[in-house]
């Protein structure tokens, strides 16, 4: 296994995986807390149209997908605020439309498109220097912004009205969050693919939520679990000659189930629902 670390393609894969695992699972805390996993899924699927445009026009597909995904994130934020439709319905419209558009655009390109499968299911071991640069750029922008606004975003997630009263510009902050989310989703496409993007966005944060006793612990645990799952999945993929994206997704799922069993074993799982829940805390709609 150590010899793999000397190989340039594995070094690029590891660098891409660690960066993506870190920022995706950290931002994933908000995805889990805000129950917006479908948003990440929709952005990932919508990015296929960006990939297709890149393939047809000759632009770097990941850069085109990043531009397209961030644009979709921006538009979704605006539509959500102005439309009477709930966000899951809006996403249910955007997801098939843009994925269908992506496949139609790809059908315009002559010949077989081997790259399509790599975007659908990830190909971290084949990550190019150009893709690594895009991933690094996204990580460098996203990580400090999320760290800077972590407390405000937590406040908005817990109590948007209270956050407004405290002087936080909630709408602007949510726009920033959704654009950042779109960016990290696109960054993770090369690692786990469009279909499995929630493996990095949801599972590490959900595992951290199972184990954490405070929000701070959840923010600490999620990136550790995310980076661990990517590293372990990548190692398994190399050692056993398995496809990398599914290996990382399965590894993340196994870690979640292991944590769940541990928590169950310790008698902690389900504590909140057994506790004398406050009559003043209305169930989240």
């Amino acid at each position: 296994m150590t010899e793999a670390l000397t190989l340039p393609f594995f070094q690029r894969a590891l660098a891409a995986g660690l960066m993506v695992g870190l920022v995706t699972s950290f931002l994933g805390v908000f995805v889990v807390l805000r129950r917006s996993a479908f948003f990440g899924d929709a952005i990932a699927h919508a990015s296929l149209a960006g990939v297709a445009l890149g393939v047809v026009t000759g632009l770097p597909p990941l850069a085109a997908a990043a531009a397209f995904g961030v644009g979709i994130g921006f538009v979704l934020n605006r539509v959500e605020r102005r439309s009477r439709l709930p966000i899951d319905t809006i996403l249910g419209i955007v997801l098939p439309f843009s994925m269908g558009a992506g496949i139609l655009i790809l059908s315009l390109a002559p010949g077989y498109q081997p790259e399509l499968l790599s975007y659908l299911f990830g190909s971290i071991l084949a990550v190019s220097s150009a893709s690594l640069a895009v991933i690094a750029a996204i990580a460098v922008v996203v990580a400090p912004v999320v760290l800077r606004f972590r407390r405000s975003l937590s406040f908005v997630t817990f109590d948007p009205d209270g956050a407004r009263v405290a002087g936080i510009r909630v709408d602007r902050l949510l726009l920033v969050y959704q654009v950042l989310l779109a960016a990290v989703v696109v960054a993770s496409i090369k690692v786990v693919g469009i279909v499995l993007v929630n493996a990095l966005l949801v599972i590490p944060a959900a595992t951290a939520k199972l184990l954490a006793r405070s929000l701070e612990q959840m923010f600490l645990l999620a990136p550790i679990i995310g980076v661990g799952c990517v590293s372990a999945g990548l190692a398994a993929s190399y050692a056993l000659d398995l496809p990398s994206g599914p290996a990382i997704a399965v590894m993340s799922g196994l870690v979640f189930f292991a944590a769940w069993v541990c928590v169950l074993w310790r008698g902690r799982l389900g504590q909140p629902s057994r506790a004398p829940s406050s009559p003043l805390a209305a169930p989240k709609r």
């Binding site: 109590d159 009263v165 002087g167 939520k209 006793r213 405070s214 829940s277 003043l280 805390a281 209305a282």
Partner: protein
Amino acid sequence: MPALEVLDLTVHFEGQDRPAVDSVSFAVEEGTIAVLIGPNGCGKSTVLRAILGLVPFRGTVRVFGGSVADSYRKIGYVPQRLAFDQTLPLTVREAIRMPLPRRPESADEDSFRHVVEILGIESILDRPLGMLSGGQWKRSLMARALVTRPRLLLLDEPEAGIDVTGEQTIYGLFEHLVAQERITALICSHELELVTEYADVVLCLNRRLLGSGAPEKVLTPEALASLFGATPALYLHHHERHRDRQGPTPESSR
């Protein structure tokens, strides 16, 4: 200068044929407890939300002579309910600190310790919010509202979901805050007995402001019958006992 001035406040929600709140004007002097009363759906919570800028409205709201947008740091708000995921691993300590700056100053730390002490919540600081009882939850929300040292406190039915002892404790705390720290409080409430005991000013609302003044002057059986459609029996019982204790010309009950 009043702590809060509301002039001709009207809230008309889209799709409704009449305003939820219609041309309401009142002022709350600094260092007093004002209580908005009225039947369900009369617009009490809407008035609070309009003052906070959480719903669109027509009219003017001034907080200590300035706009609400410039006065957010002076306002603390305690909602009646919060729709949040009860499995959220958010501790009481984290929830209270949320409105504080990212890098709190020593004054913020002092304020944190002070509100924890006066609300008596030291023992639950590391407990997740989803594990709290009604009274603990309400105290935690109050601590969060007070931690920024507001001068105006807006509370939406603070007694909701807590028992009689808890009600007395919470209202006793308002009295303490008003007396010791010159905080002004505007409270929405259904509890007429508590209102009689603690309010300086009562505002009777049923979409419009039907009357305002000291509780013993405003909360007459006739006024309550007009406001609620019927005089609340429990309140009358209490009111009569109160009058018997105080004599024929009751003074302020505070």
